[in-house]
């Protein structure tokens, strides 16, 4: 993975000094709360329900074992012994004191980490595919370009006070695993028949209050031009995006208001001036950054390891884990392993300091000392020898990482919700746990098969509920917590938004509703269909009837 040189290191060190001074001036009353607010936000520091929340950047999801141990130490020293992984690959601590954050940043800087632009109306952490560099369907490893984008966006002087936050995702494989259609900028790496590499550029997607699928503004942009082109997009947005209403301030609203054609025309007009300029990426820089993402020292192994097969035959629990949590690798004899942070009854995405250290140890022993964070809030060991999987599984079990549920119903994406977050309308973790509890029978879970349930505690959609096959959204109804259910959302190449099934429900009824939807799917499904396939075949109305009975039928008629 990328390693800092003196320039990179100086910038994060200077950032610590800057923020320490800002905190001191705020404490001394020289900075008002209002003046301090965007400064702390751009260092990932929110003031939350119980205490400040501090969000650490994990650029494009890559973590070394050394960095993971640092996060473990921070969790133990400044938090209550745990942290939470978010859908932007970041780690959140829920209980630090503001006064401690400069020291936390200093500790992070020592391991080449930071909290730069993890919040605020600026360019946020760039996200990508958790299987970058190892996926069989990869066109090009997106991580070098993610790192180049990270550097370009870090302290970008023109774009620190945008109308609203700005999120970029890059996908380098045939299958979209980075939710690119729902980002402010989504980039697909493409290779033409004659070997040219570039991007399909999608702009104006987003979830939140007004979920919109992004639109293609350019079918093919040579990779060298990505910084100048992004600069043109951001400049048009910075100048003309709405600032009068924060709900209408994302770039998606500007793209919709202008129409994608006119928006693209304005971007092109701006780009004409920037194209080919000094920010055009050089081959030397691309090669320099790419050299950090070279293949590790893989062993030469047979494509299929016999002991891996034999262990699966002997142990059903291992076989189940292998089926759900282990993924094929492009190198013979290797596999990628997902460590589940979705053990039923725990807060999805939460990880204790002990677990972080255990994960770091596993990474050191089995996967070249590196980990990835997924936007589904799990961890990945990308490069594990098949012959080591059985030993890894036993250790992962001991650390509560081996729940065999990746892609199954209990592998829910869940935001921290009303237990922690100030923005939330409703709690999410206890309701998610109640749903997991309802589906605690592994055979049943297995029979249901692939299904994504995404849960957000409010319209800000941190839990990506819009693109869950079943989405759960916390809403405020007369100061009570209610939950609205959507069906049919999807990520991937056919990413689309779910549809609301009808009136919302109190917390206690949510597991019943999910069960009705799932039972109905099981009754209706045809051979080989996952939940989403059945939805595509029969549509929304039958699911409504399954939940609301004849009332829905009358309404539908």
């Amino acid at each position: 993975m990328y390693r800092y040189d003196n320039y990179d290191q100086a910038l994060v060190d200077e950032r610590v000094t800057q923020f320490r001074d800002q905190v001191a001036r705020w404490k001394a009353g020289e900075l008002s709360d209002e003046e301090f607010r965007p400064l702390r936000l751009q260092n990932g520091l929110y003031v939350q329900r119980h205490a400040p929340m501090f969000r650490v950047a994990v650029p494009y999801g890559m973590l070394s074992s050394i960095q993971m141990r640092c996060l473990a130490t921070l969790g133990r020293k400044y938090d209550r012994g745990y942290g939470h992984f978010t859908t932007r690959h970041n780690m959140q601590f829920n209980w630090p004191a503001i006064e401690d954050v400069p020291d936390m940043l200093a500790a992070l800087a020592k391991v080449e980490m930071h909290a730069i632009q993890t919040s605020g109306n600026c360019i946020r952490n760039v996200t990508t595919d958790q299987f970058a560099g190892v996926a069989a369907d990869e066109i090009l490893d997106p991580r070098p370009l993610c790192e180049i984008l990270r550097q370009w966006s870090t302290f970008h002087p023109e774009f620190a006070f945008l109308p609203r936050k700005f999120k970029i995702a890059v996908n380098g494989a045939k299958e979209d695993r980075a939710l690119t259609w729902f980002h402010d900028i989504g980039l697909h790496i493409l290779k033409t028949d004659d070997g040219m590499v570039g991007f399909r550029v999608i702009v104006g997607g987003g979830l939140g209050r007004t979920p919109i699928r992004g639109e293609v503004v350019r079918e093919f942009l040579p990779w060298q031009d990505i910084l100048t082109y992004c600069e043109a997009i951001l400049r048009v947005y910075n100048r003309y995006g709405r600032r009068d209403n924060s709900y209408k301030a994302r770039i998606k609203i500007l793209v919709q208001a202008l129409g994608v054609k006119e928006f693209a025309r304005q971007v092109d007009a701006e780009w004409e001036h920037l194209k080919g300029g000094p920010a055009t990426i050089t081959q030397a820089e691309y090669d320099r950054v790419t050299s950090f993402f070279g293949a590790p020292a893989y062993a030469i192994l047979p494509a299929i390891d016999e002991s891996f097969i034999a262990h699966q035959a002997e142990s059903l629990p291992f076989a189940r884990w292998a089926e759900r949590n282990v993924r094929p690798h492009r190198i013979p004899g290797y596999a990628s392993v997902t460590l589940s942070l979705k053990k039923p009854g725990t807060a999805p995405g939460d990880v204790t300091s002990e677990q972080m250290e255990a994960a770091a140890d596993l990474a050191d022993r089995y996967s070249f000392g590196e980990l990835r964070v997924t936007h589904e809030q799990n961890l990945v060991l990308a490069d594990v020898e098949q012959r080591q999987l059985f030993a890894l599984w036993q250790e992962a079990k001991a650390a509560n990482f081996a729940t065999p549920n990746i892609g199954l119903l209990t592998d829910m994406i869940v935001c921290p919700g009303g237990d922690f977050c100030d923005l939330a309308n409703a709690k999410s973790i206890p309701v998610a746990n109640a749903v997991q509890d309802r589906f605690d029978d592994l055979d049943y879970l297995w029979d249901i098969g692939d299904i994504e349930i995404n849960f957000s505690g409010c319209m800000n959609s941190c839990g990506h509920h819009h693109v869950g096959n079943i989405g759960i959204l916390g809403v405020d109804k007369g100061n009570e917590e209610w939950y609205q259910i959507t069906v049919g959302g999807e990520q991937g190449n056919n990413a689309q938004l779910g549809k609301v099934i009808g009136r919302s429900f109190p917390a206690g009824e949510v597991p019943d509703v999910i069960e009705k939807l799932v039972r109905f799917y099981i009754a209706e499904r045809q051979e080989g269909e996952h939940f989403i396939d059945t939805f595509h075949r029969i549509g929304l109305d039958p699911f409504k009837v399954a939940v609301y009975g004849d009332k829905a039928r009358l309404k539908a008629a």
């Binding site: 910038l11 370009w152 774009f159 820089e285």
Partner: protein
């Protein structure tokens, strides 16, 4: 006389900033004597008088106005001020970069309005070289802000080449 930051030093300000009252006609507004910085609307309405009055005259741009609006007049403007009604409104950063990098303006670009210590570094990178800090702010302390980061990544008005074209091992 109020002080501003100019070329990273606190200096006395010679200009009077002219603002229009609500409903006031830009063509007929009375102007003070001496060096002035006028709203774009006044500049457009009284350009011939302003260019012959024999005192330095600058223009200030509000957030909905841009570099394009003064592009033809740059040679006659010793100063262009860019207003920040709220420090969180970042449109002025683009205005300054366009003035410097697209239109080649070499005169003073002054940040006015809600101008604060912690934005000075970014503003300077975008081409601002003068800063009228919001009243009550500590100018001497704010001078430290310019040294916040030694070698930033991007090309901007202050550095034409991004770091990746300058990195040495």
């Amino acid at each position: 006389m109020t002080q501003i930051i100019k070329n990273r030093q606190a200096v006395a300000d010679n200009y009077t900033l002219v603002t229009l009252a609500e409903g006031e006609a830009p063509a007929s507004t009375a102007l003070p004597t001496g060096a002035i910085i006028v709203p774009l609307a006044v500049w457009q309405a009284q350009k011939s008088e302003l260019t012959t009055r024999g005192t330095p005259v600058g223009v200030w741009l509000d957030v909905t106005e841009g570099a394009e609006d003064v592009a033809d007049d740059l040679a006659s403007l010793p100063v262009i001020a860019v207003n920040f009604p709220k420090f969180t409104d970042g449109r002025g950063y683009s205005t300054a970069r366009l003035l410097r990098e697209r239109y080649g303006y070499t005169g003073e670009i002054r940040a006015i309005g809600d101008v604060l210590h912690d934005q000075l570094f970014l503003m300077a990178r975008c081409g601002f070289d003068a800063f009228a800090l919001r009243e009550g702010k500590d100018i001497a302390k704010a001078l430290n802000a310019f040294a916040t980061f030694k070698t930033p990544y991007q090309a901007a008005a202050d550095e034409s080449r991004p770091l990746f074209r300058r990195r040495t091992a």
